[in-house]
């Protein structure tokens, strides 16, 4: 199927030389292990901030590779070819979002336990971190793709992308931190529910916005 072919191609490209995956993972690992250095080793302080820091770092790391989501294809003419294929723009958008998740979010998810260890979290906290990252990253890819498609032809697209995307991702960061907190405290606070709902809504709705952005930047 066309979508699978596209996702497969992007995974292959990422594994061959797309430095973006490595960059995103390295960025995440570095920042998340360095942050505890700047925080006083007061008991419980690190636990309180761990959730928010992990979520923010993973969002920023994913943003690093979002800039390139459509840019590389746009610049070498591949995007035109993808558009002249059998997929609708919305399906194309959804496939690219899925491809981004596989190439960036999945590696981030894989090293998120490292983040939990760096934050000195107990086992329950580790579960919370992995769960939060797993639930949040689809939204990050989906919403980030909206930003990527809107800034395709922008002069300094890389700088404006976080400005557009982070406000829209604020709920993800808030709820994700809530998920970590709920696992640490052992209390249910609904964060898992809210985060899942937001991610689901983002994944279902963003292809339409992304397609609109692509349409704009391709046809002008």
């Amino acid at each position: 199927m066309s979508s699978l072919a596209l996702i497969g191609r992007d995974i292959r490209l990422a594994s061959r030389g797309g430095g973006n995956t490595f960059l995103a993972v390295a960025f995440f690992a570095t920042i998340v292990t360095l942050v505890p250095l700047g925080i006083e080793p007061v008991a419980g302080l690190l636990h309180a901030v761990a959730g928010g820091i992990v979520m923010l770092c993973s969002a920023l790391a994913a943003l690093l590779s979002l800039d390139n989501l459509f840019q590389a294809d746009f610049e070498d003419g591949s995007l035109e070819l993808l558009v002249t294929g059998p997929l609708s723009l919305e399906s194309l958008a959804a496939s690219k979002i899925a491809a981004h998740w596989f190439t960036t979010a999945l590696p981030l998810l894989a090293i998120s336990p490292l983040a939990a260890i760096a934050m000195d979290l107990p086992g329950a906290g580790l579960v919370g971190v992995v769960l939060a990252v797993a639930l949040a990253t689809p939204a990050v890819s989906a919403v980030g793709a909206i930003g990527a498609s809107l800034t395709l032809s922008a002069k300094r697209g890389g700088l404006i992308l976080p400005l557009i995307v982070l406000p829209l991702l604020a709920p993800v960061i808030i709820f994700g931190a809530g998920v970590v907190r709920s696992k640490l405290e052992g209390a249910e606070n609904g964060a898992v529910l809210y985060l899942s709902a937001f991610s689901l809504a983002a994944v279902l709705l963003s292809p339409f916005a992304v397609a609109a952005g692509l349409r704009t930047n391709l046809s002008a």
Binding site: T151, S153, K155, L163, T216
Partner: protein, 239 residues
């Protein structure tokens, strides 16, 4: 509406409006501020701090209203391709951002005496701050994208996507436990705020609204005139 598509007609029709609105706005501002500062009694719990409300609350309403206006113009721009719609949305944004910023600052000043803190990360304040950032992102797209048509459409999409924030701001005080007080005016049971506070509030709102409208129309007229000059100059060089 079709008539407004003709720039000259639009310019002619709207020429008398700004001075008139500025006049009305200054009058209302004068009345409202006088009432707020001298006539309104100190509130039971807050004392004189309550007077900030008359600057803060209308600013917040305009900040949100301007974004709603922007979103509606954006939908209109995408659906109808009306040439005025893009300009209308674009020129509303910096004004909306200004009023939002004013609301954030005055709210912060009000928060210190009322809650003991300049800021809190509760749902209402956070979502309102996000509104400010959404404005910035919207303005940034216009500035950074080279082709104007693409900038217009991209910005329109962002405005529509970001509009989900508006109901979140409105209902955040109901859905979550927030520091910010609950809805006291626009709620289903009718306002619970005392009438003596309500009137100056609405006068200030009317003042801000006419001020916004006047500034907005001036900006839109300027944009149209600028575009006319640019077209005439490039046509002239073509010869």
């Amino acid at each position: 509406m079709i008539g407004y598509a003709n720039p000259k007609r639009f310019l002619d029709l709207t020429r008398p409006i700004p001075p008139w609105f500025f006049g009305v706005s200054s009058t209302l501002l004068a009345i409202g501020l006088y009432l707020a500062l001298f006539v309104v009694p100190p509130e039971r719990q807050q004392g004189d701090a309550v007077r900030i409300m008359f600057v803060h609350v209308p600013a917040a309403w305009i900040g949100m209203g301007a974004y709603a206006l922007m979103a509606v113009c954006s939908i209109w721009a995408l659906v109808n391709r009306h040439p005025l719609a893009d300009i209308a949305a674009r020129e509303a944004a910096p004004l909306g951002a200004l009023f939002t910023g004013l609301a954030l600052i005055t709210g912060s000043l009000w928060g210190k005496p009322m809650w003991g803190t300049y800021w809190a990360w509760d749902a209402r304040l956070t979502s309102f701050l996000l509104l400010f950032f959404l404005y910035l992102g919207y303005i940034a797209i216009w500035n950074v994208t080279e082709d104007e048509t693409r900038a217009a459409r991209g910005a329109a999409i962002l405005a529509i996507v970001g509009a989900v924030n508006l109901p979140i701001i409105k209902f955040s005080v109901d859905w979550w436990n927030t520091l910010h007080q609950g809805e006291s005016i626009f709620r289903s049971g009718g306002p619970v705020i005392a009438t003596v506070f309500l009137w100056p509030l609405f006068i200030m709102l009317a003042a801000y609204t006419t001020l916004f409208a006047a500034l907005w129309i001036v900006r839109v007229r300027t944009a149209i005139l600028r575009r006319t000059v640019r077209t005439r100059v490039s046509a002239g060089f073509g010869r």
